[in-house]
């Protein structure tokens, strides 16, 4: 869940480095929430740490209490806690010295070794290697497990196991007041809080029969667009690091941090405060993104022209646009296949181009005349009306990974009667087993990373 935060950590402070194996780490940063499925895996990683290395817990401060959560403190009783996910906070926590107590609570059971069924048909003298890729792997944002059954280096079968990021968001909403449910909606895809929240807000507004005016709608769209660009840039930082293309990854991290800096003072109040039903957007000046847009476009061109990257990845992880379309995939993963070669490099180029186009469009808005945003004649400070008439409505927005939609059913009561999310990553995930079969282990991981899967939105 803290995929962007982690990528940012390594960019903020050069001394914060991500290492491959727990045995080589100096500390373990656990990003809450943990659930019952993932906690044993986190504990296993902590047991793999060298002696004296501390476990550091972080929980986003505005994350509401979740029903399906295993509190980090019960797994890691001696963990240090940081309140901001920054390099400085991490260093301060680490500087408290060695942690000599056992990192994991004694009562916490050791992980049991899992067995999967192997394919029967196998006429060769060699044996299958069973590779448990995950749950804590860097190829998706959030934990997920991919069983790779390999014959030598070749993947014979891939079996995804999900549920390590499940927080039961939709279920929890059923028992919640509408206002609290709208707050929780932002956590559905923690990397895209604006898209998640806006989808829910739109559904509620449909049920209430309210339409925001063009100006308000425009600013909401801007917030969405910014989030798409933001996600694409941070994803490319993570992906380029996995390809071990350090100079390009560093450039992408610079751009992503520049975008963060521009956005820090964009709206007078935080986006979360005004992205609520019936709430008009604040009057804002669109941020000045013209130079950043040019820089991102240059990066996309550099990546497209990179001969080495092309030779390394040509034809790997190629997906046909028609297959993607019938599976219901939307967003940059689809664009990469319809207007590009549909392989790893095409997806990298498609996401960076999308970021550049989005930022250019935002920069052009800065010149356009401004009108006051309103929603159905309501004033900014007026209390929201939380009566939601009975019925079913769908909110759908263009999120960073494609169309993010939510069906909301109301029975006219104080709780939502039914909430069902449609995650863009789930459609892509259904293609993964077919995509990885027959690939090499070294490519399988690249392909997974190139899909930009967010496991939290799949698990809900």
């Amino acid at each position: 869940m803290g995929a962007h935060d982690l990528a940012a950590l390594a960019g903020q402070q050069p001394l914060v480095m991500l290492v491959a194996a727990p045995r080589h780490a100096d500390c373990l940063l656990v990003y809450e929430p943990l659930n019952a499925a993932f906690a044993p895996a986190a504990a296993e990683l902590a047991r793999g740490l060298p002696e004296g290395a501390p476990v550091i817990l972080y929980r986003p401060p505005d994350l509401p209490a979740l029903t399906d959560e295993t509190p980090g403190a019960t797994v890691f009783p001696h963990a240090r806690r940081i309140t901001a996910c920054t390099a400085a906070a991490l260093q301060a926590a680490y500087a408290q010295g060695r942690s000599d107590a056992l990192p994991v609570a004694a009562a916490f059971p050791s992980l049991r070794a899992d067995l999967v069924d192997l394919p029967q048909e196998h006429e060769l003298a060699t044996e299958f290697t069973v590779f448990s890729l995950g749950p804590a792997q860097p190829f998706t944002a959030g934990p997920a497990r991919f069983w790779l059954i390999c014959d030598g280096e070749q993947v014979v079968q891939c079996r995804p196991v999900m549920g390590y990021a499940a927080r039961g968001i939709a279920g929890q909403m059923h028992g919640m007041a509408w206002a609290a449910a709208a707050e929780l909606a932002a956590w559905y895809d923690p990397l895209a809080p604006v898209a998640s929240r806006l989808a829910f807000v739109q559904a509620v507004e449909h049920l209430q029969g309210i339409t925001p005016n063009a100006a308000s709608q425009g600013i909401r769209e801007q917030a969405l667009a910014v989030e798409r660009a933001h996600n694409a840039l941070w994803w490319s930082v993570r992906f380029l690091r996995l390809l071990a293309l350090e100079p390009l990854a560093r450039r992408a991290a610079q751009l992503a941090m520049a975008l963060d800096a521009v956005l820090a003072g964009w709206t007078p109040e935080p986006i979360a405060a005004w992205l609520a039903p019936q709430r008009p957007a604040p009057v804002t000046t669109p941020p000045d993104l013209a130079s950043l847009a040019r820089a991102v476009r240059d990066l996309a061109a550099t990546v497209r022209r990179d001969r080495w990257l092309h030779l390394r990845t040509v034809g790997i992880g190629q997906i046909n646009g028609a297959i993607l379309h019938s599976a219901g995939v939307t967003g940059s993963a689809l664009t990469a296949s319809t207007s590009g070669a549909g392989d790893i490099q095409a997806r990298l180029v498609a996401r960076l181009t999308m970021a550049a186009t989005t930022l250019t469009a935002l920069a052009e808005l800065a010149a356009a005349p401004q009108t006051t945003p309103t929603v159905a004649g309501r004033q900014k400070d007026q209390q929201a009306d939380w009566y939601v008439p009975a019925g079913t409505a769908t909110g759908a927005v263009a999120g960073p990974r494609g169309t993010l939609a939510v069906d909301v059913t109301s029975d006219g009561g104080i709780h939502p009667a039914h909430v069902a999310w449609h995650a863009p990553s789930a459609a892509l995930l259904s293609l993964v087993p077919a995509l990885l079969a027959g690939q090499k282990v070294a490519d399988a991981e690249m392909i997974l990373a190139s899909l930009d899967l967010v496991t939290a939105e799949v698990d809900g």
Partner: protein, 121 residues
């Protein structure tokens, strides 16, 4: 090189091996002072653990290439004494080597054609 100087030379090599060994043991010894050795843990495999065995009969997929390597490695060994004598022998040595290289190159071309350089599916 006399026998004595050869002994002396490899004496340095022996001394180095002994010293490196001692340094390594010393490095291992530092944390043991005062700490009892903790229980051993196998590597955690991304926080998941597969109960399947890891020492498997691994399918290499480049076995033919490995055989080719053995052949070429031997040929490389033949080339070193030739290289030293090459200047003294002149044109004859060059002609010999051209014949040798042509034979080697034909072996590569044959192996290439036969698919030895392709990844076994």
């Amino acid at each position: 090189m006399t026998l004595a100087s050869i002994h002396a030379a490899y004496g340095v090599a022996a001394a180095l091996a002994v010293l490196a060994l001692m340094l390594g043991v010393a490095a291992l010894g530092i944390p043991r002072l005062g700490h009892p050795p903790p229980p051993a843990e196998p590597p955690p495999e991304f926080g998941g653990r597969s109960g399947h065995k890891s020492w498997v009969q691994f399918r290499l997929r480049y076995a033919v290439l490995a055989l080719l390597f053995v052949a070429f490695d031997m040929e490389m060994v033949f080339m070193f004494p030739w290289a030293v004598a090459f200047r003294a022998m002149g044109l004859i040595a060059l002609a010999d080597m051209v014949v040798f290289i042509v034979i080697l190159a034909s072996a590569i071309i044959f192996a290439w054609k036969a698919g030895a350089f392709e990844w076994e599916a």
